[in-house]
C-alpha cells in the first residue's frame, strides 16, 4: 500500500526507559492519540517517519502517471476532474509531509531520501499509463485500495497522521468514483473502448493487490505496528477486503478479472484468489519496476530544475524581512 513496510524491521532498543515505555504502551492500548511533544520510543518515531514520508512520496510520485493524461483527457469535464484529482493528491502530499515533519525530519531531508533511492514509495506508481482507461483503472483500483488502507488509519495512534488521514479520506471517495465512472463509460462504449478497459484491468489488477504489501507471514513489522496501533489491520486482511468489494464491481462493468483461480468461497464467506507473483513485487520494491527509472528521473529533474526558483523565493523572503526589520 502507500504505507506498507517495505524496509528494515523496527527493533525497540532495550535502552528505552522501561517506565516511560510502559506508560506509552498503556496510552496506545487505551486508544489515546500520541502527539508530537509526547514521549515516544525511538523505534516508534522511526517507523512512523518512514511510513508517513513513504505515504507522502507516494502521493507526489502518484501525480506522474495521471499527469501523463491530463493534457490528453478526452473531454473538458474529464480534464477538469482529473486536474482536480491530481491537485488533491498534491495536497495529500503536503499534509503528509507536514505530519512527518512533526516527528523531527525536515521535508528537504525526506525528499533527499526519495531522490537518492533510500526512501520508498508505493510500487503501483512504477507501472505505465498507456491508455485513457488506465486513468479509470487507477481511480477505481488504486484509489480504491488506498481508501481500504487509509480508513483504518484515521484511528492510527499518532495524532497528526490520523488527522491528516481524516482530511485525505474525505477526498479519496471522489477519486474512486471518478475512476469507476471512466470505466463505466468505456466498458459500455465502442469496441475500442471496451478493449482498452479490459486491457487496463488486466494490467492493473495484480499490481493493485500487491499494493497491500507482502503476505502477513513475510511482514516482520506487522505485529509491532499493530501493537502500537500504527497499523490497524494486516496486509492480508485488507487485501481480502479489497478483493471482496472489487470483484462484483468488475462484474457490474462486464469486465473479467484476470485470475482463473478467482471464485466465491461459501464456507469462508470470501473470494478465493490466485497466488500473487511476489517475485515481481520484490523486484519492483528494489526499483526494477517498468517505469521506475522514468518516475525517479522526472522527480529529480523537477527538483533540480526548480532549485533556482526555490533559491529565488528564499532570497526574496530574506531581503523582504530585512527591509521590514529596518523599517
Amino acid at each position: 500500500m502507500y504505507t506498507t513496510e517495505l524496509q528494515k524491521t523496527a527493533k525497540v532498543a532495550s535502552t528505552e526507559d522501561p517506565d516511560k515505555l510502559a506508560a506509552f504502551e498503556a496510552r496506545v492500548a487505551a486508544d489515546e492519540f500520541i502527539e508530537p511533544k509526547d514521549w515516544m520510543p525511538e523505534a516508534y518515531r522511526r517507523t512512523l517517519t518512514r511510513q508517513i514520508s513513504q505515504h507522502a512520496h507516494s502521493e507526489i510520485v502518484g501525480m506522474l502517471p495521471e499527469g501523463n493524461w491530463i493534457t490528453r483527457a478526452p473531454s473538458l469535464r474529464r480534464k477538469a476532474i482529473l486536474l482536480a484529482k491530481v491537485q488533491d493528491e498534491a495536497g495529500h502530499g503536503l499534509y503528509l509531509y507536514s505530519a512527518a515533519e512533526t516527528l523531527g525530519t525536515s521535508r528537504e531531508e525526506m525528499i533527499e531520501a526519495l531522490h537518492s533511492g533510500k526512501a520508498k514509495y508505493s510500487t503501483i506508481f512504477n507501472y505505465p499509463t498507456l491508455t485513457w482507461a488506465d486513468i479509470g483503472a487507477i481511480g477505481w483500483l488504486v484509489d480504491g485500495a488506498a481508501i481500504m488502507n487509509q480508513v483504518p488509519l484515521q484511528r492510527t495512534s499518532y495524532g497528526p497522521y490520523a488527522r491528516a488521514m481524516v482530511r485525505v479520506c474525505k477526498e479519496e471517495s471522489f477519486h474512486q468514483r471518478q475512476g469507476y465512472e471512466i470505466m463505466m463509460a468505456m466498458a459500455a462504449g465502442t469496441a475500442d473502448q471496451k478493449r482498452m478497459a479490459q486491457d487496463a484491468l488486466n494490467r492493473w489488477w495484480w499490481p493493485s493487490l500487491m499494493m497491500f504489501g507482502p503476505p502477513d507471514e513475510n511482514s516482520p513489522n506487522t505485529a509491532q505496528s499493530m501493537r502500537w496501533r500504527i497499523k490497524r489491520e494486516t496486509n492480508d486482511e485488507l487485501r481480502q477486503k479489497f478483493v471482496d468489494i472489487t470483484v462484483p464491481q468488475a462484474g457490474a462493468l462486464g469486465l473479467t478479472v484476470p485470475d482463473p483461480a478467482l471464485g466465491w468461497n461459501e464456507a469462508r464467506g470470501h473470494y478465493d484468489f490466485g497466488e500473487i507473483d511476489w517475485e515481481e513485487f520484490y523486484s519492483v520494491v528494489r526499483g526494477e519496476g517498468p517505469v521506475a527509472r522514468e518516475r525517479m528521473q522526472a522527480r529529480r529533474e523537477a527538483w533540480e530544475q526548480g532549485a533556482w526558483v526555490r533559491e529565488a523565493a528564499a532570497a526574496h523572503a530574506e531581503k523582504h524581512s530585512r527591509k521590514q526589520e529596518a523599517a
Binding site: 499527469g67 493534457t71 477538469a80 486536474l83 498534491a90 462504449g189 522526472a298 529565488a312 528564499a314 532570497a315
Partner: protein
C-alpha cells in the same frame, strides 16, 4: 507544357488584412467573440496542465493545477454558450476537440510554450492582469449570460493575477539567475501584449451594443499596473516592437498546432466514442 487544373481561390478578405467577421450578423459576431474568450482560457489551461507533477515544489504544482482548473472551467462555460449561440448542435467539447488551428480564436500569448517557470509566470502575469480587467467590464455586459460567467471568473482571475505578480516580483528581486530568467521570460512574451488590445470591427460592433468590452478603455490602466509590478520587481519596462497579430483571425504561432495534436488526439482518433 501541361497545364495544371484550375484552383478555386477563395474571395479575398475585406480591407487590407482587417478582421473579416460579419459585423452585421449579431449572432455570428457573438459566436466569434465567445470563441475568443473561451479559447483564451482553454489554451492557457491546457498549457498550464503540462506542468503537473514537474514544478519546483508541491506548492507551486498545486497553484498551477489550480489555475489550470479554473481556466478549463471558464472555457467550458464559454464554449458551451458559443455552441448554443451558433445553433448548429455543437457543444463545448465539439468546439474544443474538433476544430483546427484556423478556427481557433485565442490570442497568441496564451499558446506560447511554458519555457521555464519564469517564462510561464511572465505569460500568466501579462495575460491574467489583462483578463481580470476585461472580465470586470464583462461582468456588466448587456448579455446576461456573459455577465454571469464573467462575474464568477473575475474572482478566480484576481487570484491568478495576484499570484503571478507575486512571482514576477519574487523572481525579479530574488537572485541573479532568477532575475535574468524573469527578464528573458518577459522579453519572450512582450511581443504578444499589443494583440490583447487589438480592436477590430467585431469588438467595436459588440462593444457598441454593450456586449463586449473595448480593450482600449483599460489599456492605460493595464500598462500602469504592469509597470508598477515591474518596478517593484526592479525590472525594466517591457521591450517594444512591432506588434505580432493574427490569433483572433486564426493565424497562430507554430506552437498551437502541436498543442492541439496532443489535446485533441483521443476524440479525433475515436470520433464515435463517448467518454
Amino acid at each position: 507544357m501541361a497545364s495544371l487544373p484550375p484552383i478555386d481561390i477563395p474571395p479575398a478578405t475585406t480591407g487590407n488584412g482587417a478582421f473579416d467577421a460579419p459585423a452585421d450578423d449579431p449572432n455570428g459576431a457573438l459566436f466569434d467573440y465567445l470563441l475568443r474568450l473561451g479559447d483564451d482560457s482553454l489554451v492557457l489551461g491546457q498549457r498550464l496542465s503540462e506542468w503537473t507533477g514537474h514544478a519546483a515544489s508541491v506548492e507551486v504544482d498545486l497553484s498551477l493545477a489550480n489555475i489550470a482548473l479554473d481556466l478549463i472551467g471558464q472555457a467550458t462555460l464559454l464554449l458551451d454558450y458559443a455552441g448554443e449561440v451558433e445553433g448548429r448542435g455543437r457543444d463545448g467539447d465539439k468546439l474544443a476537440f474538433h476544430r483546427d488551428v484556423l478556427d481557433f480564436r485565442n490570442c497568441l500569448l496564451v499558446e506560447q510554450p511554458n519555457g521555464d517557470f519564469a517564462q510561464t509566470m511572465a505569460r500568466q502575469f501579462l495575460f491574467s492582469t489583462w483578463q481580470r480587467r476585461l472580465l470586470r467590464h464583462l461582468a456588466g455586459s448587456a448579455d446576461a449570460r456573459i455577465a454571469a460567467i464573467a462575474e464568477k471568473a473575475v474572482k478566480e482571475v484576481t487570484y491568478h493575477a495576484e499570484l503571478a505578480a507575486e512571482w514576477v516580483i519574487r523572481l525579479g528581486d530574488g537572485t541573479e539567475e532568477s532575475r535574468r530568467r524573469m527578464m528573458d521570460g518577459l522579453e519572450w512574451m512582450a511581443r504578444f501584449v499589443p494583440e490583447l488590445f487589438e480592436a477590430d470591427g467585431l469588438t467595436a460592433f459588440l462593444a457598441e451594443r454593450g456586449v463586449a468590452a473595448d480593450p482600449d478603455s483599460f489599456r492605460a490602466d493595464y500598462e500602469e499596473e504592469v509597470g508598477a509590478v515591474l518596478a517593484a520587481a526592479g525590472l525594466p519596462l517591457l521591450p517594444q516592437q512591432r506588434p505580432i497579430l493574427g490569433g483572433r483571425r486564426g493565424h497562430h504561432s507554430e506552437h498551437l498546432g502541436h498543442l492541439l495534436c496532443t489535446m485533441q488526439f483521443l476524440p479525433r482518433t475515436y470520433p464515435e466514442a463517448v467518454w
